[in-house]
């Protein structure tokens, strides 16, 4: 039982990270129609922003975290300005290919800057464990779950309780009608990219202490976030959360109860089943032409 609790909490923590990455992915997709294939590299950048600010620059925790997230926000704005904005009148496929290209550039930029040797990004709660029914839970894993829960609440408040968020949802549905409501569509689209980058940054900072900071970590995260979005429902925020948690839990529980070699198998088999049987996912709407 103790083993199960430990695995379950760790699975939730890993799933939370996937969920955050998936939420960023969904926010960009809903607002712009762009499937961001660089989403995994965004998370990797988040981890390395943490490495740069905390391990290399030696900033204290709160300052280092804030600086890393500020850097990610700036990166989101930059990505909007140099990748999305110039390509926004091109077919959406061109923009998607653009994100693939930039993802490759990001990965190699990280390789150039940090080298191929993995780094260790420490947690502010390093070495602290919590005892629950005989199971030793790392405080970091618990923090990841709590932080993700808080963020999900904040995102919900933003999208459903503030004029800014309602405007972002309006732009996601019909940019032209939104312009006619006096909404600054480009600004709101930029905010969507910035929000996605910051969420990926938080995911990266939380993931760093659980994995090693490795320049190749982006691709597996992107695949998991992608699987999470398919299972949960493309374009759905609750779907991204549920899908992320599901993928994280099956990964850790599958690794210990079935086989660590096939730990990714369950999540991807489920994803393929969804694609075959229920392509709109658990919470998604049927794919239709975007208005």
């Amino acid at each position: 039982m103790a083993d199960f609790i430990q695995l379950f909490v760790n699975g939730l923590a890993l799933g939370s990270v996937y969920a955050l990455a998936a939420i960023g992915f969904v926010i960009v997709y809903s607002a712009t129609g762009v499937v961001n294939f660089a989403a995994g590299q965004f998370v990797m950048f988040g981890t390395f922003a943490g490495v740069a600010m905390l391990a290399n620059a030696g900033l204290p925790w709160p300052v280092g975290y804030a600086a890393a997230l500020l850097a990610m926000a700036a990166f989101g704005a930059l990505f909007f300005a140099i990748v999305y904005l110039p390509l926004r009148t091109s077919p959406v496929v061109t923009v998607i290919i653009g994100t693939v290209a930039v993802g490759i550039v990001m990965q190699n930029a990280a390789l150039l800057g940090f080298g191929s040797w993995p780094f260790r990004l420490a947690s502010p709660l390093e070495g602290v464990t919590i005892d629950i029914a005989g199971a030793a839970i790392t405080a970091h894993a618990a923090m990841v779950v709590v932080v993700t829960g808080l963020l999900v609440g904040l995102i919900w408040l933003l999208f459903y309780r503030t004029a800014l968020g309602i405007g972002m949802r309006a732009v996601a549905q019909d940019a032209e009608a939104a312009r006619l409501m006096g909404l600054n569509v480009n600004l709101l689209l930029a905010l969507s990219w910035i929000l996605a980058a910051v969420l990926a940054g938080i995911a990266g900072l939380l993931l760093g202490p659980m994995w090693f900071a490795d320049v190749n970590m982006g691709d597996p995260i992107a695949l998991k976030a992608f699987a999470a979005t398919i299972i949960g429902g493309f374009g759905s925020l609750p779907g991204a959360i549920a899908g992320g948690l599901f993928v994280g839990l099956t990964e850790l529980l599958g690794a210990s109860y079935l086989s660590s070699a096939y730990k990714d198998l369950i999540a991807f088999v489920v994803m393929i089943l969804f694609l075959l049987v229920r392509p709109q996912g658990v919470f998604g709407e049927r794919i239709q032409d975007r208005g």
Binding site: R161, T162, A163, L164, I166, G167, R169, A170, Q173, D174, E176, A177, A178, R179, L180, M181, G182, L183, N184, V185, G291
Partner: protein, 245 residues
């Protein structure tokens, strides 16, 4: 005194002249109708005024300022408002949220003031009970009213209405007209109406601009336009005189 002025507006789509040297003015509080057969360029004209389409030639001034190439949201903030011919409500937002997207134009208000102002707007249009409902649960007539409400929430000085009565039954058209009359009395609101419902146009408009094949073929009071030979021939065909004989 003119509030909105379009001068020599031309718009070419490839080989098609959608608008050809159209002049148009709206004074504060004035009610102007733009009519013409299908394909006359009416919606394109509204698109040029609101910046969804940029004109090939000519210029648009609002309140003395050149807005020919201004971004759409800037024009809306300056005091233009518009509804669409085919409803373009945000279907995944509630009725209240739809109105809030318009009301959010004023950034000096808090979230709760914004919500209250939007609710007040819905209340005046008789839609307060529907505030929390999703758009797809409304009747077609109610949706058109929500669209009007949403455009009004932007606080326009000139409201451009693209066929607001299309698809409404006669009772709903009466209600719409009553609302428009009341709104004009309440605010100093100028209205530019594109409409095929001639009964509505003749009752509401003080001045009518008639377009055909992108050209202005007549302009004047409803009585004058109704008896204009060019207008009659555009609507009824060249043979109308023979038919009358």
């Amino acid at each position: 005194m003119t509030l909105l002025q379009a001068t020599a507006i031309s718009k070419r789509f490839g080989g098609l002249m959608a608008l050809s040297e159209v002049d148009f003015t709206v004074a504060p509080g004035e009610f102007v109708a733009v009519i013409g057969p299908n394909g006359a360029g009416k919606s394109t004209f509204l698109n040029v005024l609101t910046g969804l389409t940029l004109p090939s030639a000519g210029n648009v001034q609002f309140d003395g300022r050149d807005i020919t190439r201004a971004p759409t949201h800037g024009r809306i903030r300056a005091g233009l408002g518009r509804t669409f011919q085919h409803g373009r409500l945000f279907s995944r937002l509630s009725v209240l949220e739809n109105v809030m997207t318009g009301a959010a134009i004023r950034t000096d208000r808090s979230e709760s003031q914004l919500r209250e102002a939007s609710l007040g707007m819905l209340d005046r249009m008789g839609l307060a009970d529907e505030a929390k409902r999703p758009i797809d649960s409304l009747s077609y007539g109610q949706r058109r009213m929500v669209e009007l409400c949403r455009a009004l929430a932007c606080g326009p000085r000139v409201l451009l209405l693209d066929e607001p009565a299309a698809g409404l039954n006669s009772g709903e058209v009466e209600l719409l007209m009553a609302r428009l009359i009341a709104l004009r009395a309440e605010h100093e609101l100028a209205v530019v109406l594109i409409e095929h419902n001639m009964g509505m146009v003749m009752r509401l408009a003080e001045r009518i601009l008639v377009l055909n094949f992108g050209c202005r073929i007549a302009e004047g009071t409803p009585a004058k336009v109704q008896s204009d030979p060019a207008v009659l021939s555009a609507y009824l065909g060249e043979g109308y005189n023979n038919a009358r004989d």
